[in-house]
């Protein structure tokens, strides 16, 4: 197991009192969250519950208004997103903002180059660069190897989602935040995605936002439920299925009972 983080006993992710305010509106408030290394955690909640806002704060896409974020024992609350990426944090985006003018190969190459960082980023590319091989391996894992030299603007919705995951898997992530990876996929594409998620190495910590209850409960060992920007419940999938509050606000609502 490649454990190269300094605090082996620390939690993968520890969040204390996180809040994010937009003007007078708290998108998320008083969130506490602890995720162990290697844990598979699902985050559920109806639309507008603050799931993506929480992810944005965790990755540093937006800064937290209040609270503390710790990754493997190191405080990252004030760190910019590119530093957190280099610590092993990765995410996918619900609405894929890909580089439309670049090919799949170039996009994955940049993902690898970005994580490795350093001066090689600005040096000319030489034949046999191992970052290119890594990009091809990622394409294989994410299932986009057959469209390597296609521009991302030409990809189907499903292929774009797969590419998103390929980007997030660059250079052995330690903790993956997946924002509704199955959103908008056809029934035929969903099993492929589930299989991809299940095949992730066991030492990778995964936090998954998912509307599809089947995928969420099948791939996770614990569940956090957000409602109106606050943490409503936490527990095993079974606990959550039995929880009255959760039934009322989410499961009941989502299934129209």
């Amino acid at each position: 197991m490649p454990v190269n983080h300094s605090h082996t006993n620390a939690n993968a992710l520890e969040v204390r009192g996180i809040g994010k305010r937009f003007g007078g509106f708290w998108a998320v408030q008083d969130i506490d969250l602890t995720v162990r290394p290697g844990e598979r955690r699902a985050i559920l909640g109806p639309n507008g519950a603050g799931k993506t806002s929480l992810f944005n704060v965790l990755t540093g896409d937006t800064s937290a208004t209040t609270g503390q974020i710790t990754l493997f024992g190191d405080s990252v609350t004030r760190e910019p997103i590119n530093k957190r990426i280099q610590r092993g944090l990765r995410r996918t985006y619900q609405h894929a903002h890909l580089f439309n003018g670049l090919t799949v190969r170039d996009t994955l190459f940049l993902a690898v180059a970005g994580v490795r960082g350093g001066w090689r980023q600005v040096l000319p590319l030489r034949a046999g660069d191992d970052r290119l091989a890594e990009a091809e391996r990622l394409a294989e894992v994410a299932g986009v190897a057959d469209v390597l030299d296609r521009e991302t603007s030409e990809l189907s919705h499903g292929q774009r989602r797969q590419l998103e995951i390929g980007i997030a898997l660059a250079e052995k992530p330690k903790i993956l935040l997946l924002d509704e990876p199955a959103a908008g996929l056809s029934p035929a594409e969903r099993p492929k995605l589930s299989a991809l998620l299940m095949s992730l190495p066991k030492d990778v910590t995964v936090v998954l936002i998912e509307h599809d209850m089947d995928i969420a409960l099948q791939t996770s060992e614990s569940v956090s439920v957000l409602y109106n920007g606050r943490m409503l419940a936490e527990g095993s999938p079974d606990d959550i299925m039995r929880n009255e509050d959760v039934h009322r606000v989410y499961i009941g609502g989502a299934h129209g009972h």
Binding site: D61, N82, Y93, A113, G114, V115, V122, L125
Partner: protein, 322 residues
């Protein structure tokens, strides 16, 4: 397109053209094309329209004038093998600095900032006499002799400009395939996402501007040898707009478009006197620009490659309208 098909006729051009055509049309188009290439590179790959390219070219041109033979008695004479790299280096540094200033701006704001820099430089050169000799600038600037060959010779200057243009195009196509070039294009498509890959956004933007400074600087050096003078008028609003017009006429989707635009611009500029009044050149170029923007927003280069594609595949003739 195969480069040899274009390059061989261009190399043979001096055999069929007289000195007027070679110098006033061909060489001038190449030089203007190189300067416009510095803009179309930025616009195509970084997605930023810069009005400061004449400034970068001017900084290189003034460096050559200041450190070379001139007839105004200002400056220090340095050998060309020092003054040329120095001029290019200053153009690259100025490009990088302008990129640093404009790095957070896009669209209209990038235009405003670079225009402000361009205009500020114009007024600075008018008012500074120790380095720029005020609004009269430098005259009698002579291109150097390299290995007994004078670059003042029309044929030599033409071939040097052609060589520089080819090298500039090759540099652009190599640079955009490099990791840094890919990052520049990624910044154009989704800057926030570049940061989310763990890559700083400032470096690629500054690098793109610095590289455009190299191109503009090369054009600026050739231009000062070609004109044999440089003054505030070489960096004013006129040249700033000319570079933009050339880039737009040629098209911002392919680097080679800059040279197509330059040829059209120079032909119109040279022969407008015969067609209409000299004073009406701006009207003429304005009408041409308007036509291009309406009929072929991708520029003449795009229009031509569309035609070539249609000739090759006649079955799609009905699909696109001109």
């Amino acid at each position: 397109m195969r480069p040899a098909l274009i390059l061989i006729p261009l190399l043979a051009l001096p055999l069929v053209l007289n000195d007027f055509w070679l110098t006033q049309v061909a060489t001038r188009s190449l030089i203007l094309g190189i300067m416009a290439l510095s803009l179309s590179f930025l616009a195509t790959y970084l997605g930023v329209v810069s009005f400061a390219q004449a400034t970068m070219a001017g900084i290189a041109g003034y460096t050559i004038a200041y450190f070379g033979p001139n007839s105004v008695g200002i400056g220090v004479q340095l050998p060309f093998w020092i003054s040329i790299p120095l001029a290019l280096m200053l153009a690259v540094v100025s490009g990088g600095l302008i990129g640093l200033i404009a790095r957070r701006s896009r669209g209209i704001y990038a235009i405003m900032i670079t225009l402000a820099i361009g205009v500020a430089f114009f007024y600075f050169t008018r008012q500074n006499y120790t380095l720029f000799n005020g609004w009269t600038g430098f005259s009698g600037v002579r291109a150097p002799e390299i290995g007994g060959l004078s670059l003042r010779d029309p044929l030599a200057l033409y071939l040097l400009s052609l060589g520089t243009a080819v090298l500039a195009l090759a540099l652009v196509s190599g640079f955009v395939r490099s990791p840094l070039g890919l990052t520049i294009q990624a910044v154009r498509d989704a800057p926030g996402r570049v940061l989310a890959l763990g890559i700083s956004v400032t470096t690629p933007i500054v690098a793109a501007f610095a590289f455009s400074g190299l191109l503009a600087g090369a054009g600026g050096i050739l231009n000062v040898w070609y004109q044999e003078r440089i003054s505030s008028f070489s960096v004013g609003l006129g040249p700033i707009i000319d570079i933009l017009i050339v880039a737009v006429i040629g098209g911002l989707r392919h680097p080679a478009g800059a040279f197509v635009g330059a040829v059209v611009f120079v032909l119109l500029d040279t022969f407008a006197v015969d067609l209409i009044d000299r004073e009406r050149f701006n009207t003429l170029i304005g009408v041409v620009l308007l036509l291009i923007v309406i009929v072929a927003p991708g520029g003449l280069q795009q229009l031509a490659s569309d035609w070539v594609a249609r000739l090759r595949r006649p079955e799609v003739k009905e699909k696109s309208t001109v």
